[in-house]
Subunit: 242 residues, 2 copies
């Protein structure tokens, strides 16, 4: 008798509010917050950080600060006063982070990272490590759930484009299937955007929020594809490198 | 002094779970559930129904049945046993519905309709009355919030395509603006789909759910554009015709 092995499936969750609707227990969750949490985290590990502790509340971040930790914290794009750093990837050069332990709290990203704690595994995706993430997933025979951090629980374009880029790579490998409307929509949007990212980025609402704050110098950086091979993952409350 | 009037804005909400994130109080809410609630409702009014009472729970639908109402009720695509009709638009011919009062309960659509009750107005959108909805909205100077009923609180493609088609008409009129990522994504997806709807429809997950139940004979009907001029709206617990 021939046993037909079902290929693992790809699903995309557009908002943390919808995460409970998906079967995350049997999936590797790829958390994505292109502007800017997962891009920043990828940068930190690229530049040699030892580990990063994501915390959800401002109070929690402040407690760590009092204990002497280096704290990165922002809300609505802006650095919190007590924090050592805001949320631009440019701060986290190797001389700042190498070998260090950082505490990290942002508007959307850190909440999304901790949501996946009961899944098979939580890994961090950004355009910076797109191919690394996809190559890693191809070595596993596990379902993939791409969790877009979004903007305050709303859909956003930048995380969706990443979800589309990653889904496309996985589908094209022939190792995965999808019957998920959000995955199909993401791939279609990525197909529109990928050949003219410079113009497409203009549509992104959060780009304009960051611009108002004078923080939009990071946009091109956040859309640079495959600039690193690092793959951060989340385990027992801490981000480390695979 | 010249007062610059801000044009009304378009927003798209991809899931009832996210509805509270939007400012619905100052918006006309267009509820859409292409497969099949809002297509069915548009059909009922096209064929002369007097009014339709949407109810959310099975218990509530059963109570109306005991009082002698004609009840349309389905869950997960299938007609409930006690109901007079399932959820195919083909049932609601003029000889069945003309002048009647129907009670209506479905998996996703009826919940979405009742959510908007504190907004400026709730109207019913489907491909059947696309141009009628857009012409109506152009006569108002109100924000527009397109609420996709989705599938069990998840994103779905068919409601998104309608949101894109309607947003495009409104934006092209020059009377509206949007800074909403979901509205922009919807328009891009509609632009991919509109010139080859026959093939694009194959991607839709709910199409395959209906096919398994032998209920997919309605798909082409649900994607037929501008087959009627009726515009149902929801007020004080009841759907009527504008």
């Amino acid at each position: 008798m021939t046993v037909v092995q079902q290929k693992p499936k790809i699903e995309v969750c557009f908002s943390p509010l919808q995460f409970h609707l998906f079967d995350s227990k049997d999936s590797i969750v790829v958390v994505v917050d292109i502007l800017r949490a997962t891009t920043v985290i990828t940068t930190m590990f690229h530049n040699g950080v030892h580990k990063v502790i994501p915390v959800q509340t401002i109070e929690n971040a402040l407690e760590y600060k009092k204990k002497g930790y280096l704290v990165v914290a922002e809300r609505d794009g802006e650095k919190l006063e007590f924090a050592d750093f805001g949320n631009s990837p440019y701060y986290f050069t190797s001389d700042i982070v190498k070998g260090k332990e950082l505490v990290y709290s942002t508007t959307n990203g850190t909440n999304a990272i901790t949501m996946g704690k009961n899944s098979k595994q939580v890994i961090i995706g950004s355009f910076m490590n797109l191919t690394r993430v996809s190559e890693y997933l191809k070595t596993k025979t596990a379902n993939v759930l791409i969790l877009c951090a979004g903007w305050k629980d709303r859909f956003n374009l930048e995380d969706t484009l990443f979800a589309g880029a990653l889904s496309e790579k996985l589908i094209n490998s022939g190792l995965f299937i999808t019957k998920c409307d959000s995955a199909n929509a993401s791939m279609d949007l990525w197909n529109i955007a990928k050949n003219d990212l410079t113009n497409y980025k203009e549509k992104i609402a959060h780009r304009h929020r960051l611009k108002k704050l004078g923080l939009d110098d990071v946009i091109d950086y956040c859309f640079t594809i495959d600039s690193t091979e690092v793959l951060p993952y989340f385990d027992k409350g801490t981000l480390k490198m695979l």
